[in-house]
Symmetry: C2
Subunit: 350 residues, 2 copies
């Protein structure tokens, strides 16, 4: 008889769009939890939440919250992570951080388990969960890169509003209703809360996700570029990104152009590589109009790939359409996978 | 004193999404009309429409409809154009055809006036209006190509539902309302009427516009590829396209990657080229979050360009965000521009 070891788990940002999906994922995966601690900012503290039939009161996160915690899943914004992740680590917790705070820190592994699980091993208490749009892209590209090499990626994204949080979802809903009733649209949150200007997202497309950098790219675009190189351990791979927010609630889609190293690779070979990959599902049958869409991917933990075709001019170029639930594989699911890997591989101890 | 010559003008498909915009454009441009004839399929015949304060009854189009017509603007589907354009030409009319019926016919000029107006001159009675997504892209790329050359384009589109006609707009509206009320979505038209499968467009993204070709590309994608080469008189330019239908009513947006021939070109040079181009408006100031969106471009005749930035790896590569009202510059406005050019340049006579 084997006894399963159980762990004390904290979820920081429990009431948020990603936090609630973290709880759903912990439940779905039957994660070996001893005590569960739900944490949030002061503003959301006191909220009541249910997990596996038991009621929990969300508590305000403080450094002391992490005493006796084994695994802490962070998703309460970069500032909170910067402040509290070191405190949690100091108290012996391993933090899986879903914010951008530590992603490019050379001391912190940035992990998509299907791509670079081994990197988790070298953690110093913090493992970063990549940006949602990065995760699904590298998951789809990994089997292609493994077999045929990869020199270049050009991606244009089609990103759901849930990536901007629950309040942005309320804004999309309110604006959509107003638009359909012929009323004026109130824009108070998107594209970026706290920025100079707001634009309606309902029945619109906003070519800005996160703030602009000096080079004219948005931070979201630079995340895709830099994180891809880090996850793939390859500074030479060329990555370009254009990130666009669109009026749907869940799932990001991506139009991806990829150049492989090998000549003569066929679409069939790419399809086979993707079919055999873990966590990636091929949905690609043009004759029967089979391809993934945001609605069809919502609520599912996998990365879906369709519309695979060869570039008409470049023998090494291919085009793909990659869709995944941004709150699941793009965030909560990937974070819990990292936590599972920590346990399974005995990597919790530093 | 000069007397303005007036012309007998027929609009075929007058009740459709593009047809109504053609009438608006003829009015807005104060087109020199003597008699106006509104034509449609049998189904829509009998409808009453108003133009410049006068009532018109839409008539069923027959070959005889085009007796005494000088200029016929066609937008009633490729089948109708195939059948009636030769009849109209036989009767002395010049046809500006907004369908895909004749676009790739070597005898038929395919024209975006800002790009290749001179091609109109060689017409044999029919001039084709390019696909909406092609028009705005080539209009934006023309000033860049003129100054710096152009070897390659990779485009991912964000296309409005109005490109699929008025009934598709009704479907988007009905589905959006159902979704917001928690009801099931009925999909009966999109992505392609008469195809095997229908998918909801509300709060979704459909990576299919028009039918699939044997090579895995959609016909919409092949239109962008082939029409761009024809309009630019350049079979060597490499063009790749991924076309996606999105849940907004008006304006197509495009994420365009372009490689120029010259080295060392700067973003400022591109911005200047676009600023100076006819029919193209630069809306590009990241610091102040200025960029075009489908809602901001709707109802305007220009092509708007923003988010211009240099590729981080390729000195000759640039990324742009191109937005235009698909029913105006993408269809009706461009058609009427061609008609104006016929008159202005005395090119009506073959």
């Amino acid at each position: 008889m084997t006894t399963t070891q159980l762990y004390n788990v904290a979820v920081l940002g429990a009431t948020g769009a990603v936090g609630t999906k973290m709880l759903e994922t912990l439940d779905k995966k039957n994660f070996p939890i001893k005590d569960l601690l739900l944490l949030s900012s002061k503003r959301s503290a006191g909220a009541e939440m249910e997990f596996q039939g038991k009621k929990y009161t969300v508590q305000e996160a403080t450094p002391e919250s992490f005493e006796n915690i084994d695994i802490a899943l962070f998703s309460a914004g970069g500032g909170v992570s910067k402040q509290l992740a070191p405190e949690a680590v100091k108290r012996g917790a391993v933090v899986v951080d879903n914010t951008s705070a530590y992603r490019m820190d050379p001391e912190v592994p940035l992990v998509v388990p299907e791509v670079n699980e081994e990197d988790i091993k070298s953690h110093n208490g913090i493992i970063a969960n990549p940006n949602c749009s990065t995760i699904q892209m590298v998951a789809a590209l990994k089997p292609i890169r493994d077999l045929f090499g990869m020199s270049r990626v050009i991606v244009s994204t089609y990103q759901a509003v849930s990536g901007a949080g629950n309040e942005a979802l309320d804004e999309l809903r309110a604006q959509s209703e107003a638009f359909l009733q012929g009323e004026d649209l109130k824009a108070e949150l998107l594209p970026v809360t706290g920025e100079k200007k707001y634009y309606p997202i309902a029945f619109n497309a906003l070519p800005q996700i996160d703030v602009f950098q000096e080079n004219g790219y948005t931070f979201e675009e630079m995340k895709m570029i830099n994180e891809t190189k880090k996850i793939m351990h390859d500074d030479t791979v060329q990555v370009a990104a254009t990130c666009v927010r669109l009026p749907f609630f869940t799932s990001h889609a991506e139009s991806v152009y990829v150049e492989v190293d090998k000549s003569g690779v066929t679409v069939e070979q790419l399809k086979e590589a993707i079919s055999n990959a873990e966590g990636v599902v091929l949905e690609d049958d043009p004759e029967n109009q089979v391809y993934p869409t945001p609605l069809s991917a919502a609520g599912k933990p996998d990365v879906f790939v369709g519309r695979i075709r060869k570039d008409l001019d470049n023998d090494k170029g291919f085009h793909l359409w990659v869709v995944s639930d941004n709150l699941l594989k793009g965030a909560a699911w990937n974070s819990v996978q990292i936590a599972e890997s920590l346990i399974k591989n005995n990597w919790l101890q530093k």
